[in-house]
Symmetry: C2
Subunit: 256 residues, 2 copies
């Protein structure tokens, strides 16, 4: 990176400018899908969403938001997800039926639309408040219904072989409890236990690479100043997000 187009040596400011340009080129045109699960735009989660949309758009990324509550997104996995006849109408099996429906192009319109957004995205950001050590049901329903067999994984095509490779994901969430509570020895246990089903069980299973999660601890119980710091922290992180390497979300630690 220190040699010019024809091998000429560049001065430091030229190197810097060139790297900035290259970085900007890398980001511009990137497609981001933010799957957002909060009822209130004025909430802290709403602010985090706004920051992500603004910052990523400024970088030249194309940003799409699935605002689940605003969309009244259906979280229930039912027969309504299959258009037309069932593969086996004698005994309804959601996994089999959605797999078959996916293959023949027979999934309901709302699922097809979400799958198209996922397919086009380079990066999936999930923005939500932690509910009961997990995602709110409306977001869990998005996972349950959108990531069907055939689309996100298939027979023996899972984990590193999952069908959504070359995509990145990032779980960005707020908690009610403090960081201490979710630390080793804290009453909530290590936050890694909370991350496992989302990062390894869902994203890794589908072949999606995982960036470091972004966790804002207890924003409702800190000072206004601390909240602002948290928001600034998110903006700062997003500025260099495309330079980040995916983490190993399934380290040895979990298998001991």
């Amino acid at each position: 990176m220190c040699a010019g187009p024809r091998g000429a040596v560049l001065r430091p400011y030229q190197i810097l400018r060139r790297e900035a340009l290259q970085c900007s080129r890398t980001m511009a045109g990137k497609k981001v899908l933010i799957v957002y699960a909060h009822q209130e735009p004025k909430s802290f989660n709403g602010s985090l969403l706004k920051i992500a949309v603004e910052e990523l758009t400024k970088q030249g990324c194309s940003v799409t938001v699935s605002d689940l509550y605003a969309m009244q997104f259906e979280p229930r996995a039912t027969r309504n997800d299959i258009v037309g006849r069932l593969h086996n109408s004698e005994a309804f099996n959601y996994g089999v039926e959605t797999w078959e429906a996916y293959k023949r192009g027979g999934l309901s319109k709302d699922l097809v639309e979400e799958q198209k957004k996922v397919q086009e995205a380079d990066l999936l950001i999930f923005q939500f408040p932690l509910f009961w050590f997990s995602m709110p049901a409306i977001l869990k329903g998005w996972m349950d219904r959108v990531l069907v067999q055939g689309f996100a994984y298939d027979l023996s095509k899972c984990y590193d072989g999952g069908l959504l490779q070359d995509k990145l994901s990032l779980f960005s969430f707020t908690t009610g409890g403090t960081k201490e509570m979710y630390s080793n020895g804290g009453i909530g246990g290590d936050i890694r236990y909370v991350l496992w089903p989302m990062q390894h069980g869902i994203m890794h299973f589908c072949g999606v690479k995982v960036l470091e999660p972004h966790i804002c601890y207890a924003p409702e119980n800190v000072s206004e100043e601390k909240r602002k710091e948290m928001l600034t922290g998110w903006t700062q992180r997003l500025k260099t997000l495309w330079k980040e390497e995916p983490i190993n979300c399934s380290p040895e630690w979990y298998f001991k």
Copy 2:
């Protein structure tokens, strides 16, 4: 237990009969709520539900089933859960609003009904297929919406001090993956990671004691004979369920 009412020595058959009576007395009148999340009565989960209802009823328990899909249970946590005016209509905060609504008796009818069932129950059984290392969204929505602050926990009334003490719970679920996959060293990691948010993060948080989970691994991928064995195993377990001691669902292991 070997001495009669007035200290007279009992013959072996009398002891047996007396123990049986006592056992039956302990079970009779117990109230069980089964929260069930499967779309198809003919499914393996449907069979497990049927067995539980029959066996527990036979024991003299009073069994209530919340059949979430049949009820079209709403999993989304929204403003609709609060009847009448909001505590703060400027910025909707689900946690605060449901807490305030609970205190003034202003939660929506479906939530009040579920809370009443929980309140009356001695034992909560959750019966469902594992979806993405967790509960199906419809069941997660039951947790999100029913177990509100004031009802299930309160300021500093959580974990061993949670508001739903003297109740037992049991997570009974089926998996897609095999037992080996969810064992130490398996690709799915130890099943204890899956259990953590449900058992510790939800039930223990609310003060509910936890019985050993009942896991049927990969029923769709085993022989008919093996499936029958699994069903018989559930019946057998239920026969002596009331003699079981709660497990420690938050052992040292999680805090290392």
